[in-house]
Amino acid sequence: MEKKLLHVYPQRCTACRNCEIACSFAHPIDGKAGVARIKAFGDKEGRVGHNQIVVCMQCEDAACVSACPANALWRNPDTGAIYLLEERCIRCHSCVAACPFGNMRPQADEFPSKCDVCGGDPACVKFCPANALEYK
């Protein structure tokens, strides 16, 4: 199977943050919204086409993976994405400190949150009204 990637088109982004909300609800904790794994940055000056989306790039030589002492970060060969295996995670948050892009996000007493492309059907893509996100 050819691996799909989460493509980002920031110039189309309206910074409506639907992606964040979709992500939160796609990864709930105890039925409540979790920490979004994607972040939309509206341009400070409000210029159209200058908004930004920051989401995990599933790096080839990932800092999170090499920082994890428990081998809890694992690349799924089907989706090509790096998954956090919660049952292996010891919650030391080393990955959070290691990711240079701010894409491993801490959740107080929980496991860090990490984009897993929703197992191959990312919610953020579905809920983006501006087609700024594509999974292909």
Binding site: Y9, P10, Q11, K39, F41, H50, Q52, V54, A63, S66, A67, P69, A70, N71, A72, L85, E87, R88, C89, I90, R91, C92, H93, S94, V96, A97, A98, C99, P100, F101, G102, N103, M104, R105, P106, D109
Partner: protein, 251 residues
């Protein structure tokens, strides 16, 4: 691949794969307390006991711990026989007596119909069930700051001589992986205290928010080759920084 039976269902597995892993893959629930995927199974809590037999055992069966029993061809595994359920219930009663204050144990005990424990109970403040997860995690994955000292009923988890450990990096993995929340820690502002040692959380070089203890950063740096300072930026600032970088990239 081999085939075995779990609760009447034929399932496939690798030879030698642990029964617990197979059961979980097949959606068969087996309770555990001392199991953690990040470390080798220990077989200490005995909650994952299941009954196994084989067609050639002539009706003879035995209780084994699913967490470390290796699968073999034609093994017949039963996870909820009377003997299994009774043993788990008794173990929970022993644990309730040890840690009457633990919510998790109380909940599990209720599930097993243990409404009126009869054994003499210990102190309410005791929460540790000596499952060994924290010490296995710290010894095998982190720096080995804590261990189980003494023997038998005297056994407890602590740092050497119960003194402040100079190898602890304050990562909280022990406390966070504890199933009964028995390890206390405190985090206020830029301070984090665990095992009697207070760590300074390095403030984010950009916004001043707490990041991580310098000791953890140094430990990480040694393992990954990243510079220590690279760890001292908080997630928010790192993401914003990433966004700013994107600005300058032609898409």
């Amino acid at each position: 691949m081999i085939e075995l039976t779990i609760d009447g269902k034929r399932v496939q597995a690798r030879k030698g794969e642990h029964l617990l892993a197979i059961a979980r893959r097949e959606g068969v629930e087996i309770p555990t307390l001392c199991h953690h995927e990040a470390v080798e199974p220990s077989g200490a809590c005995r909650m994952c006991m299941v009954e196994v037999t084989r067609p050639d055992w002539e009706g003879w069966s035995k209780l084994v711990t699913a967490c470390n029993f290796p699968a073999e061809e034609d093994l017949i595994v039963r996870t909820r026989t009377d003997k299994v359920m009774q043993t788990r219930k008794e173990i929970l009663e022993l644990l309730i007596a040890r840690t009457p204050g633990s919510q998790l144990i109380a909940e599990m005990a209720r599930e097993y119909g243990l409404d009126h424990p009869t054994l003499t109970v210990g102190e309410l403040s005791e929460k540790c069930i000596l499952c060994d997860i924290c010490t296995r995690v710290c010894q095998n994955l982190v720096t080995g700051a804590i261990s189980r000292i003494n023997r038998g009923v005297e056994k407890e988890v602590n740092t050497p001589f119960a003194e402040v450990s100079d190898v602890c990096i304050g990562c909280l993995a022990c406390a966070k992986s504890c199933p009964t929340d028995a390890i206390e820690f405190k985090q206020v502002g830029l301070e984090r205290t665990i095992w009697g040692r207070t760590f300074d959380l390095v403030p984010c070089t950009q916004c001043g928010a707490p990041t991580l203890p310098k000791e953890q950063a140094e430990w990480l740096s040694e393992r990954t080759g990243m510079k220590v300072e690279e760890y001292f930026v908080c997630v928010k600032c790192k993401a914003a920084q990433t966004a700013r970088t994107y600005e300058n990239i032609a898409w």
